[in-house]
């Protein structure tokens, strides 16, 4: 029994922390989110060289052959720094192709994903509030036509992984981003851009079968990944707000002395510790206890969605007016919390899934 990270995992965490501090501090995050494409490409190259994109890709397909629990360390730390690069989408693409692709497709695509040569955006669901096979309506089979909404990280992608439906059959297609009109959508969180991809009789580069179970697995992995990023991000809110509460003097005292402030920060700690534990367990379950993944992923994502949203709001609110300014960083995290709320199923969906699986 050992529910902690290994020395190698701790070293990886230090590497990511150092990278975020030196190569991608929040000033850079803001620049990237505003479209500094040159810097984006350079950073993507750097993280590919560091091996983050290859972590969960099998060794004989050009990867490092590690597990999601190793990737978890990266996701938590890039969440802390709000890295606006599609590491999460890339990991889901690797997972999807590894699971649904045939030998030839895996050989063709996984090495490119691991090396960062192919940059993936992902579009799973057409319905904005619904997780499940029926929320996929985009028509597959043969050439692609029509609009796929909510394509995560589509704007900076070279390739798109799109979920499709043909009658009762689900599928995944890989398309070149250049073969679609990819329209960036304005969103609350500029570090998590989504796009609508419109195809006009485009030829997919590959078609992969996908069962409902595959789709569930991919969604659960996405939910776990978003929760892990939320752990780091929520801790950043707590750290920024705690520092402010120690130094901001009102009524002759640091505001952190007042229970109205300090208790809210203590509650943040309780909630973060808790969805951190749930998210770590779920990340471990992806590779080591797949039968427990649906419940574990739902517990983590449900708790994280609600708690992080509250933490984002309180982080801004406890600062007073300064927290509301564009210049101050805490607001960036509130924006992320809004994205986390709905990505891969919201709290309501996941809480009720947990309850129904054990009750009805």
């Amino acid at each position: 029994m050992d529910f902690g990270f290994s020395e190698e995992q701790n070293l990886l965490r230090e590497q990511v922390l150092r990278f975020m501090a030196e190569a991608c501090p929040l000033a850079t995050v803001r620049a990237l989110a505003q479209g500094d494409e040159e810097r984006r490409a350079a950073l993507w190259q750097q993280i590919a060289e560091l091996g983050w994109l290859a972590l969960i890709v099998p060794e004989d397909e050009g990867g490092v052959g590690l597990k999601w629990i190793d990737l978890a360390v990266v996701l938590e730390e890039i969440g802390r720094g709000l890295l606006p690069l599609p590491v999460l989408s890339q990991a889901l693409a690797a997972t999807a192709i590894g699971r649904c692709g045939d030998a030839q497709q895996r050989k063709e695509w996984l090495p490119k994903i691991a090396a960062g040569e192919a940059v993936f955006g992902i579009g799973l669901y057409d319905d904005p509030t619904w997780i499940g096979p029926d929320a996929i309506t985009f028509s597959g089979g043969g050439t692609l036509s029509g609009a796929k909404p909510f394509v995560q990280d589509g704007t900076s992608a070279t390739h798109l992984l799109i979920a499709t439906r043909q009658g009762d059959e689900l599928g995944l297609v890989i398309a070149a981003a250049a073969d679609a009109e990819v329209k960036a959508q304005p969103g609350i969180d500029a570090t998590k851009p989504t796009a609508t991809a419109t195809f006009r009789e485009a030829q997919p580069l590959a078609a992969l079968p996908m069962s409902a179970a595959d789709l569930g697995y991919l969604t659960d992995c996405g939910a776990v990944a978003a929760s892990l990023e939320a752990v780091g991000a929520a801790e950043a809110v707590m750290r920024i707000t705690t520092e402010y509460a120690k130094t901001r003097i009102q009524f002759d005292n640091p505001i952190g002395r007042y229970q109205g402030v300090k208790h809210r920060l203590a509650d943040m700690f309780v909630d973060i510790e808790s969805f951190k534990s749930l998210a770590y367990y779920a990340a471990w379950a992806i590779d080591d206890a797949a039968e427990e993944l649906p419940r574990a992923a739902s517990l983590a994502k449900a708790y994280a969605s609600d708690a992080f949203a509250r933490i984002g709001i309180d982080g801004v609110g406890l600062h007073g007016a300064i927290g509301f300014t564009a210049e101050y960083d805490v607001q960036l995290y509130l924006k992320r919390s809004k994205w986390v709320r709905s990505a891969f199923g919201d709290a309501d969906f996941h809480y009720r899934r947990v309850a129904m699986s054990g009750m009805v």
């Binding site: 029994m1 050992d2 529910f3 902690g4 990270f5 290994s6 629990i69 707590m238 705690t242 509460a245 120690k246 005292n253 640091p254 952190g256 002395r257 007042y258 229970q259 300090k262 208790h263 920060l265 203590a266 509650d267 700690f269 309780v270 510790e273 808790s274 969805f275 534990s277 749930l278 770590y280 367990y281 471990w284 080591d288 206890a289 739902s298 517990l299 449900a302 708790y303 309501d348 996941h350 809480y351 009720r352 899934r353 947990v354 309850a355 129904m356 054990g358 009750m359 009805v360």
Partner: protein
């Protein structure tokens, strides 16, 4: 990361299960002599005082085996391993850490054998959360202390044989945490008067305890004079992982789900009501969080890393779950949820109605939720004291 147990740990779990299969009849078949038999048997196994040194009659078991033992006991709804909860939870460990050889020989065996019941004399009428401000005086006169003052909310005082008592031996101190002395006092000492207090559930478990010129031999002092605060802190920190507690909470969640399944609201099955489903999911997530928090903190202990005040996290979860689950069940069952045991329509025999009145003993004892939040904010986040 690894959630497997070693072969030795697994065989320990098997041993516990086999013991329970052989020695723990279903609740309805437990007759008059059952509890005494049970206590003697778990004592013979070395499971009482599981982590205490063998030298004093403990089991000297590992942290992980202790967690397994607690989990299995809670899973099978076994009775406690001894009659003196406080004796086993903190008085015994306190004596082992701070007591003299003579005190260890004198007190530990009776705690392990359930021969002595202990209560805890911390709170006073004017000092509960602000514990270090206690006023009950102990004056040194020759080879004994003379104690005067009053304690209150003393759980178990009506039937306790002993009290672990916090007293003030010095009043002129720089820090209020200094000058406190811990005494071990027989409850039948002349000058002690116990007045039970009825709680809102109608029980008389706690009491006011008055001390008038009570003489306590110096040999009954635990730790050094004036250094009693350290003894208290170490006692309060002695609660380890909350694994047994988590198992109990999962069992209560199952009972709550059963209630949902058997309840119709406004003519429709409650289990199909999205609002009910969401609440059940929220409870499950908080209990699961307690479980995995507990395992992370246990891992830290196993690795020899220092734990700060992280246990306050699960205490806060436990507190809100105790309150919210009972409150939810009472609302869910409507007017049947309000009926107490004995009521013809009482939901689940009135057990939720009773829990909805019983939570303060769990929630307030050992530090209120707001004190736990202070502890987290000050000791972990480093915010200024208020």
């Amino acid at each position: 990361m690894d959630f497997d147990f070693t072969t030795e740990e697994q065989s320990f779990r098997t041993e516990v299960r086999e013991f329970l299969a052989a020695n723990l009849p279903p609740p309805k078949e437990r007759g008059r002599g059952f509890l005494n038999d049970w206590l003697a048997k778990v004592r013979a196994k070395g499971w009482v005082g599981f982590s205490w040194p063998k030298e004093f009659g403990g089991g000297e078991g590992s942290l992980i085996e202790q967690a397994i033992l607690k989990e299995e006991m809670a899973l099978h709804r076994a009775p406690p391993l001894g009659t003196s909860f406080m004796g086993l939870a903190w008085v015994g460990p306190g004596i082992i850490e701070y007591g003299t050889e003579e005190q260890k020989r004198r007190f530990i065996p009776d705690i392990l054998d359930s021969k002595a019941n202990w209560c805890t004399g911390y709170s006073e009428p004017n000092h509960g959360s602000d514990l270090a401000a206690i006023q009950t005086k102990a004056e040194r006169v020759g080879d004994h202390y003379v104690v005067n003052g009053q304690k209150i909310w003393t759980t178990g005082a009506p039937w306790a044989d002993w009290i672990i008592l916090l007293t003030r031996t010095e009043t002129e101190v720089e820090r209020k945490h200094d000058g406190i002395t811990c005494l071990l006092v027989p409850m039948d000492s002349p000058g002690i008067e116990v007045r039970p207090i009825e709680n809102m559930a109608g029980e008389r478990n706690f009491a006011e305890v008055f001390f008038t010129d009570v003489e306590v031999p110096v040999g009954n002092r635990l730790g050094e004079e004036g250094k009693g605060w350290a003894v208290t802190i170490s006692a309060l920190a002695n609660e380890r992982s909350s694994i047994g507690e988590v198992t109990q909470m999962f069992a209560r969640l199952e009972a709550l789900k059963d209630l949902v399944r058997s309840t119709r609201r406004q003519g429709r099955p409650a289990a199909k009501d999205p609002a009910v489903q969401r609440r059940i999911g929220e409870f499950e997530a908080r209990i699961a969080a307690m479980k995995y928090n507990g395992l992370r903190y246990l891992t830290k202990q196993l690795r020899g890393e220092p734990l700060s005040s992280e246990t306050s996290v699960n205490k806060l979860h436990r507190a809100s779950l105790e309150i919210d689950m009972a409150d939810f069940a009472v609302e869910l069952a409507g007017l049947a949820g309000v009926q107490l045991p004995g009521g013809d329509e009482a939901a689940d025999g009135g057990s939720w109605a009773r829990s909805s009145l019983g939570w303060p003993s769990v929630v307030i004892g050992g530090g209120t939720p707001n004190i736990q939040r202070n502890i987290i904010a000050e000791r972990i986040l480093g915010l200024p004291k208020d």
